[in-house]
C-alpha cells in the first residue's frame, strides 16, 4: 500500500514539555479502515500523541497528514470538521444537558443547522435515537449527564464522538474503569462499526487490544518501538523487555493487565 493511501500519517512528530520529550520523533501510518492500537507502558506518550493528532496540542516539530492533506498547523476545530473525531480519557460531556441533548449537539453540527435562530422540530431526531441505541444508553436518554454512572458516561462519550461522523476516531483508553461486561459491550460496538471509520486507540487492556486491533504500534519513552500485525507484536522479545524489563514472555499479559486501570498523567 502506498503512502498516499494512508488515512493518517505522522512524520517525525515531536512534542516536548520543558526538558521532557513526551513524544520524540514518531512516524506513524494508519491505513483506511484499520483498527490501529497504540500500546506501551505508562508515560510512553500515547495520550499525548493522540492529542497532537486531534490538534488539542501543537507539535513541537514534525508533520501530520490527514487524508493526504497536511493538517500540522490546522486548529483542532478544523481537524474535527475534516473528520478527526476523539473521545477523552476523562469523560468530557455537557453536564447539565440530557444524554439525548449531548448527542444531539454533535448530530446537529453535521446534519442540522446550528445557526437556526428559531425553534423547529429537527429532521435528524431519529439519528439521535439511533446513536443512543448503538451505544446502549437509549433508556437513559432523558437523564441529565451528571446523574449517570462512570461507565454510562464513557458510553455517551463514544456516542457523541460517533455522532459527529468522523472518518477517523481517536479513542483514549475507551475501556478504562469499565467492568468486564462493559468492556465486552464496547468491544462489540467498536467491532460493529463500518470500515469507513478508521480507529486509532490507546488501550491498556491488552486482551481488548488483540481482540480488536488489525495493527499495533508500541510506544516506549516517546518513540516507536515497533509497529506491525498483532501476532508479530505479541511475539516480539523487544516489546516484552520494554514492558517488563525482562525477557520472560508469559508475563506480558498477566502483569500488564493489572495495569489496566492506570492512567497516564497528561503531560500538561
Amino acid at each position: 500500500m502506498s503512502e498516499l493511501d494512508d488515512v493518517l500519517r505522522c512524520a517525525g512528530v515531536r512534542r516536548t514539555f520543558g526538558a521532557l520529550r513526551a513524544v520524540d520523533g514518531v512516524d506513524l501510518a494508519v491505513a483506511p479502515g484499520a483498527r490501529h492500537a497504540l500500546i506501551g507502558p505508562n508515560g510512553a506518550g500515547k495520550s499525548t500523541l493522540l492529542r497532537l493528532i486531534a490538534g488539542g496540542q501543537r507539535v513541537t516539530s514534525g508533520r501530520i497528514w490527514f487524508d493526504g492533506r497536511e493538517v500540522t498547523s490546522d486548529p483542532e476545530v478544523s481537524r474535527a470538521r475534516q473528520g478527526i473525531g476523539q473521545t477523552f480519557q476523562r469523560s468530557s460531556l455537557f453536564r447539565t444537558l440530557s444524554v439525548a441533548e449531548n448527542v444531539a449537539l454533535a448530530v446537529q453540527r453535521t446534519r442540522g443547522r446550528p445557526w437556526l435562530p428559531f425553534p423547529r422540530r429537527p429532521g435528524w431526531a431519529a439519528r439521535v435515537d439511533e446513536m443512543l441505541r448503538l451505544v446502549g444508553v437509549e433508556d437513559r436518554a432523558h437523564h441529565r449527564v451528571d446523574t449517570l454512572s462512570y461507565a454510562e458516561c464513557r458510553q455517551v462519550e463514544v456516542a457523541v464522538a460517533l455522532a459527529a461522523e468522523p472518518r477517523i476516531l481517536l479513542l483514549d483508553e475507551p475501556a478504562a474503569g469499565m467492568s468486564a461486561a462493559g468492556t465486552a459491550r464496547l468491544l462489540e460496538l467498536l467491532r460493529g462499526l463500518s470500515a469507513e471509520i478508521t480507529l486509532l486507540f490507546v488501550e491498556h487492556d491488552l486482551d481488548m487490544v488483540f481482540e480488536l486491533a488489525t495493527e499495533v504500534t508500541v510506544l516506549h519513552l516517546g518513540r516507536v518501538l515497533m509497529s506491525g500485525a498483532p501476532t508479530e507484536v505479541q511475539a516480539s522479545e523487544e516489546v516484552q523487555r520494554a514492558y517488563l524489563g525482562t525477557g520472560r514472555r508469559g508475563e506480558l499479559f498477566t502483569t500488564v493487565r493489572s495495569m489496566g486501570g492506570d492512567h497516564v498523567t497528561p503531560g500538561t
Partner: protein, 336 residues
C-alpha cells in the same frame, strides 16, 4: 443490559425538550400579558409608570440572561448597550424623526453595532476575564458619554428628548406609553425565547457547559458567542430605546456600572437560564430601588448591596431555581 434495553425501545424518541410550549406555560403567558395590558385601567398613573419602567428593565435583564444563563458569559457591563440604545433613540428623535419605529430601530442598531465592536474583544476571553473586560469596556463607553458633550449632553445627560410619535400623535399619555412599551417588550422577549429555544440556543448551551468539547466536535465557539453577544446587545439597545421614549432622558448613569450590576442582580434573583425568572427579578429590583431609594435619601445602593449579599447566600438558584449553584467548568478546572 442488551436485552432489557431492547425491550424498552418504546421510549419516546428524541426531540428538543425546549422546542415546544406546553399548555400550562401558554396559559400563564396569556394571563400575564392580559394582566399587563389591562393594568392602566386599574392602576393610578404613577403606578402604571412604575410598571412600564419594570417592563423596560425586565427586557434588559432578560437580554443579559441570554449571555449569563444560556451562553455562560457573565457580563458586568451590559448597561453599555442599554444606554447606547437610549442615546441613539434620543438623538434620532431630536435630529431625525420621532415617528414610531425609527428611534427604536436606531436604538437596536446602535446596541448591536456597539456589541459587535466590543464583543469582538470581550468574547475572546472567558470566565473571570470576561467579567473584568466587560466591566472595563462599559466604563469606556460611560466616559465617552460624559466627554462627548455636543452629542450626549455630557454628565447632565440628554434631556428633553422628543416624544415618540405614533400615527401623528405624540406618546405622552401614560397608558399609551405603557402599551407601546408592552408591545415592544413582548417583541423583544419573543426574539429572546426564539433564540434560546432554537438549535442556535442549543449550541449556546453546549458552549456554556463545555466549550473544549464543542471544539472537538467541530463547532467554532467564538462565532456563536459573538452572535449571542450581539443579539443580547441589540435587545438591550431596544430596551434602551424604550427607556428614552418613557423617561425622555438619557444619562451616563444609564450606561454605568450600577445599572449593569442591577441587571445582573435581577438575573441572579430571578434565576438564570429562564426568560421569566430575570423578568420577575427585574420587577423586584425596580420595586426596591424606586420605593426604598427615595426614602433613604439617595442611598438606594445600600439596600441593593445588602440584597446582593443576601441573594448570594440565601437564594443561590434564584426564583426560577435552575442550574445556578452547580459550578461550571471554568478557570478552576482548566488550571488543574
Amino acid at each position: 443490559m442488551g436485552a432489557a434495553g431492547a425491550g424498552r425501545l418504546a421510549r419516546p424518541p428524541y426531540r428538543p425538550g425546549y422546542a415546544h410550549v406546553g399548555w400550562r406555560a401558554g396559559t400563564a403567558t396569556t394571563v400575564a400579558v392580559l394582566a399587563l395590558a389591562s393594568a392602566p385601567f386599574f392602576l393610578a398613573p404613577y403606578a402604571t409608570t412604575a410598571l412600564t419602567r419594570m417592563l423596560i428593565f425586565a427586557l434588559l435583564a432578560a437580554s443579559l440572561d441570554l449571555l449569563v444563563g444560556i451562553t455562560g458569559l457573565p457580563s458586568l457591563g451590559h448597561a453599555a448597550y442599554f444606554g447606547v440604545g437610549a442615546y441613539a433613540a434620543g438623538w434620532i428623535a431630536g435630529h431625525g424623526t420621532a415617528a414610531a419605529p425609527a428611534p427604536l430601530l436606531a436604538a437596536v442598531a446602535a446596541g448591536a453595532l456597539m456589541a459587535v465592536a466590543l464583543g469582538w474583544v470581550a468574547v475572546r476571553s472567558s470566565g473571570v476575564f470576561f467579567l473584568i473586560i466587560t466591566l472595563a469596556l462599559a466604563e469606556v463607553v460611560r466616559q465617552l458619554a460624559v466627554s462627548w458633550e455636543p452629542v450626549t449632553g455630557g454628565s447632565n445627560g440628554m434631556y428633553g428628548i422628543a416624544a415618540t410619535r405614533v400615527g401623528g400623535t405624540a406618546l405622552t399619555n401614560v397608558a399609551h406609553l405603557h402599551w407601546y412599551v408592552l408591545f415592544w417588550f413582548l417583541v423583544g422577549l419573543l426574539v429572546l425565547w426564539s433564540l434560546s429555544a432554537s438549535p442556535f440556543g442549543a449550541t449556546l448551551r453546549g458552549i456554556r457547559d463545555n466549550e473544549p468539547r464543542m471544539r472537538a466536535v467541530g463547532y467554532r465557539p467564538f462565532r456563536y458567542k459573538l452572535a449571542a453577544f450581539v443579539a443580547a446587545g441589540a435587545v438591550a439597545g431596544l430596551a434602551g430605546g424604550l427607556l428614552a421614549a418613557q423617561q425622555r432622558l438619557a444619562t451616563p448613569e444609564d450606561l454605568g456600572f450600577t445599572t449593569s450590576a442591577l441587571a445582573l442582580l435581577a438575573v441572579v434573583i430571578g434565576g438564570s437560564g429562564t426568560i421569566w425568572g430575570p423578568c420577575l427579578g427585574a420587577a423586584l429590583v425596580i420595586l426596591v430601588r424606586d420605593s426604598f431609594g427615595p426614602s433613604l435619601d439617595g442611598h438606594g445602593p445600600l439596600v441593593l448591596g445588602l440584597v446582593f449579599i443576601v441573594v448570594v447566600y440565601a437564594m443561590p438558584r434564584g426564583v426560577a431555581g435552575v442550574r445556578w449553584s452547580r459550578r461550571r467548568p471554568q478557570l478552576r478546572t482548566k488550571a488543574g
